[in-house]
């Protein structure tokens, strides 16, 4: 140290805490939390005491020693206002005495040293406070940033889950609908065109059935990945099951979208090896391409669905292009079919009748009931415009029941001037025949209306008998047992399996009009066929009615052949019941 030996001798070594350090430690106890044992504290304070003593002994007085001691106190976490107060107090009261420091100007030196300690302490404490404030603020910022990042990540994950298919990780219907809606709202000018490819794997159920769902799922995943690679950068979504939709956002024409559909089909054509199985799939694609302006996502979606259906019904493994005319036609049919139940309820259907006339004496043997629809917008509709639809949708069952009931109800009131009133002949659809309660239905109709069973004839087609099912045959037998007449309609146009004529309780054959039309030329093949049919029928005890008789010549030929009855314009067009009945009186 320096030259100032005027204030006594320095102590021998640091070593054990002296009386002053112990007193200082005691004074500091409880002023704040001290992260050290009491012994460690005393050791620390002894070292600081030595520094203070050295400073007081040194000439000139080095105030930096006071700063250093204060800084070290704070660094050792002896850092409270109370600790400073006690420190000043204990130094002032005891340091000079305990260390036996003697000098003339000791009071002056002590005052300046204490001032240096207080200054240094306040400065260190302030720095420490600022540092800690900064640290906690930074921690709060980091924590908030972490939380926000985690939140964004979780939201992104949530958003991904909400917009992607979990199996294939392709976008799902939601995301696809969003993108399509965005395209449709963004480009409402007359330039932008958009295309959709609605793709469905053909008979995918077979893969699940033959290899199991696990292989099926893996095949789907493989197909999904190939698809999205093949049509990049277009958006491919899995709509569920084995259905996918591709969005072609900026099409320049039909060709663009067809090319995408072909790439998609080509990508799926290669067999995929899944779980040791070579799985081969084909797909059908419905392609729609049009200007964005003037269409909506719903329109596009629906059109793609219809078009996919066409591709499927064309046998699959290919694409079909949207055809507005066809779609309109189908939609009209669809609308018509949907209107059948309402029409039935509102009584829009009625029956016309066409006579079945004896070729022997010109009497009306029976009449065929023909359903008409008085459609509120479309006018009177003939059966060929709605029966096919009704058969497809199953609505033929309620409609057929209504026809049957209405025919029985009307027929029961008919009377003839001479002999038996004509029977009423009603067409029966295959779905009606398959219903287990048909016999019951006919039974109760006859009972309620009082129509004799032999005045009801049910016309069935040949094809109905081709299914080989037991049930319809049993039903027909039961109906025949009631005494109801059974006729085979359009005989000769289907597979005219003669075997069923032997087994079935048929009473009449109605020969299709196309044989009758061929009767113009004498000795034509049609006449020989008809003649054979008639003799065959008669051999089996069946009567024969020829349909489509339009001329007197045809009627003459038919009578000559021995045909029993005729039906057609020559004998009378379909007309309301009273018109026909007027002829009977």
């Amino acid at each position: 140290m320096g030259s100032g030996d005027s204030v006594g001798e320095p102590p021998d070594g640091p070593a054990r805490p002296g009386a002053f350090a112990r007193a200082w430690a005691k004074a500091l106890a409880g002023t704040s939390y001290l992260p050290m044992t009491h012994a460690q504290l005393e050791t620390l304070l002894q070292r600081l005491t030595d520094q203070l003593a050295a400073a007081l002994r040194t000439e000139p007085l080095d105030l930096r020693a006071g700063h250093r001691v204060a800084t070290e106190l704070v660094a050792s976490h002896i850092a409270s206002a109370e600790a400073l107060g006690r420190t000043v107090e204990v130094i002032q009261l005891r340091l000079v005495r305990d260390l036996d420091l003697v000098a003339d100007d000791i009071a002056d030196r002590m005052a300046r040293l204490l001032a240096a300690i207080a200054t240094g302490y306040a400065r260190a404490l302030r720095d420490r406070t600022l540092d800690e404030q900064e640290a906690i603020r930074r921690a709060a910022l980091i924590a908030r940033a972490d939380a926000e990042r985690a939140l964004r990540a979780s939201e992104a994950r949530f958003r991904h889950q909400a917009t992607h298919d979990p199996l294939t990780d392709l976008p799902n219907r939601t995301l696809f609908a969003e993108r399509l809606a965005a395209v449709c709202t963004a480009h409402r000018d007359d330039v932008h065109r958009v295309g959709l490819c609605f793709l469905d794997i053909d008979r995918f159920k077979r893969i699940n059935d033959s290899y199991g769902h696990q292989i099926g799922d893996r095949a789907l995943v493989a197909a999904a990945h190939r698809l999205s690679r093949a049509v990049e950068p277009h958006l491919v979504a899995r709509l569920g099951g084995d259905a996918f939709m591709i969005l072609v956002e900026r099409s320049t024409g039909t060709g663009d979208v067809v090319a995408v559909a072909e790439s998609a089909l080509a990508a799926l054509a290669e067999p995929v090896l899944v779980g040791g199985h070579d799985v081969t799939v084909t797909a059908s694609v419905g392609v729609v391409e049009r200007q964005v302006a003037g269409t909506t996502p719903d329109d596009l979606w629906r059109a793609a669905g219809s078009t996919l259906h066409w591709a499927k019904s064309a046998g699959g493994a290919g694409w079909a292009l949207y055809d507005a005319e066809r779609d309109n036609r189908e939609q009209a049919r669809q609308a018509l079919s949907a209107a059948i139940p309402g029409g039935l309820e509102r009584g829009e259907f009625y029956l016309d009748y066409q006579p079945l006339t004896s070729l022997q004496d010109g009497s009306v043997l029976g009449v065929e009931a023909l359903v008409r629809w008085q459609h509120p917008q479309l006018g009177v509709l003939r059966p060929d415009s709605f029966i096919g639809l009704a058969e497809e949708t199953g609505l033929i069952v309620p409609l057929g029941s209504w026809v049957l009931a209405e025919a029985c109800r009307e027929a029961v009131g008919w009377s003839a001037a001479t002999g038996e009133p004509p029977y009423v002949s009603v067409n029966l659809a295959v779905r009606q025949l398959r219903r287990p309660d048909l016999v019951q239905e006919v039974c109760s109709l006859l009972r309620h209306t009082g129509l004799p069973p032999n005045r009801l004839q049910l016309e069935i087609t040949e094809s109905m008998m081709m299914s080989g099912a037991e049930e319809p045959v049993r039903t027909l037998r039961a109906l025949a047992d009631l005494g109801v007449r059974i006729a085979i309609d359009d005989f000769g146009t289907g597979y005219s399996n003669l075997a069923y004529l032997r087994d079935l309780p048929v009473t009449e054959l109605k020969v299709a009009g196309e044989f009758v039309r061929g009767l113009r030329a004498p000795e034509a093949a049609d006449e020989r066929i008809l003649a054979s049919l008639v003799s065959l029928a008669h051999a089996l005890d069946l009567t024969v009615t020829a349909e489509g008789v339009e001329t007197v010549g045809q009627a003459e030929r038919l009578r000559a052949i021995g045909c029993d009855a005729g039906q057609g314009w020559h004998f009378g067009r379909p007309a309301p019941a009273d018109h026909i009945l007027a002829r009977l009186r």
Partner: protein, 269 residues
């Protein structure tokens, strides 16, 4: 759309945090105005609050020192708070540099601060978890990476249990932790107690902590002792924290003013 349950919460520094209040009691400045206001209200209700925090911190230091001397080298400090002075890893690693320490706290700010402090220390880490979900703590990959549960571990739950109400089944929490520990492990507990407190003091302290996310659940000595079920209490058992192995006889004076009861148990076998 509804937020899924794994979505994290946001940080709200507008509410006082018990970790930062504790830091304030210990003389630290790792706190915000809202924490200081709550801490000052607590001091108004219970003037000894800073003393309690200091006594509790000193108990932690003596307990860790004891554990180090008992040969423990793995520490799981649950509810570690703001790592103010005298952290477990400082004490333990000074004693044995290979000591491994995992801090666990539910307060994201406390965790962020701890992470800063522990940056570069390969034997200490911090995870954000909740004492009420011990199975998640035990399964946490960072916990499993740092702590070998086939060796003795000291589990420290110091000045935390009074934030766990009965509806959160603290006994079950402790059973779950105990089941994961190897024989020779230790459990250190301390918590606020209302033994010897007036009804008015209790109510006022309750009120202060109702404002934080953590209301206060004080317990009796018997209740805290029961939490050591399965452990053998080391001397002197569950006592006011200044009385637990004091360094000097006079530092245990007026011990009940510390409000905290504490103890250390050893898992036998």
């Amino acid at each position: 759309m509804q937020r899924p349950d794994w979505a994290p919460e946001t940080i709200d520094v507008e509410r006082p945090s018990v970790a930062r209040m504790y830091d304030y009691y210990l003389g630290g400045s790792h706190n915000f105005a809202v924490d200081r206001a709550a801490a000052q209200a607590m001091v108004a209700a219970v003037p000894e609050a800073p003393l309690m925090a200091q006594a509790n911190r000193a108990f932690l230091r003596r307990a860790v020192q004891f554990l180090c001397e008992a040969g423990i080298r793995q520490f799981l400090d649950i509810g570690s708070g703001i790592p103010t002075v005298g952290n477990v890893h400082e004490i333990a690693q000074r004693h044995a540099p290979d000591s491994r320490v995992v801090y666990v706290d539910v307060d994201p700010v406390a965790v962020a601060h701890s992470r800063e402090i522990l940056a570069g220390n390969e034997s200490a880490t911090v995870v954000q978890e909740d004492l009420r979900h011990p199975e998640r703590i035990l399964a946490h990959p960072d916990v499993r990476a740092m702590i070998d549960f086939s060796q003795p571990v000291a589990v420290l739950i110091v000045a935390v249990l009074h934030f766990v109400g009965e509806h959160d089944r603290p006994a079950e929490v402790l059973r779950t932790l105990r089941a994961a520990l190897a024989p020779g492990s230790y459990l250190v507990l301390s918590q606020a107690s209302d033994d010897g407190r007036s009804e008015a003091e209790r109510a006022e302290a309750q009120k202060v902590y109702q404002r934080t996310d953590n209301p206060l659940w004080v317990r009796s000595r018997a209740e805290l002792t029961a939490f050591f079920d399965g452990f053998e209490l080391v001397e002197p058992g569950v006592v006011w924290v200044p009385q637990w192995r004091p360094e000097t006889p006079d530092s245990a004076e007026d011990a009940e003013r510390a409000v905290f009861l504490g103890g250390v148990g050893r898992l036998g076998g």
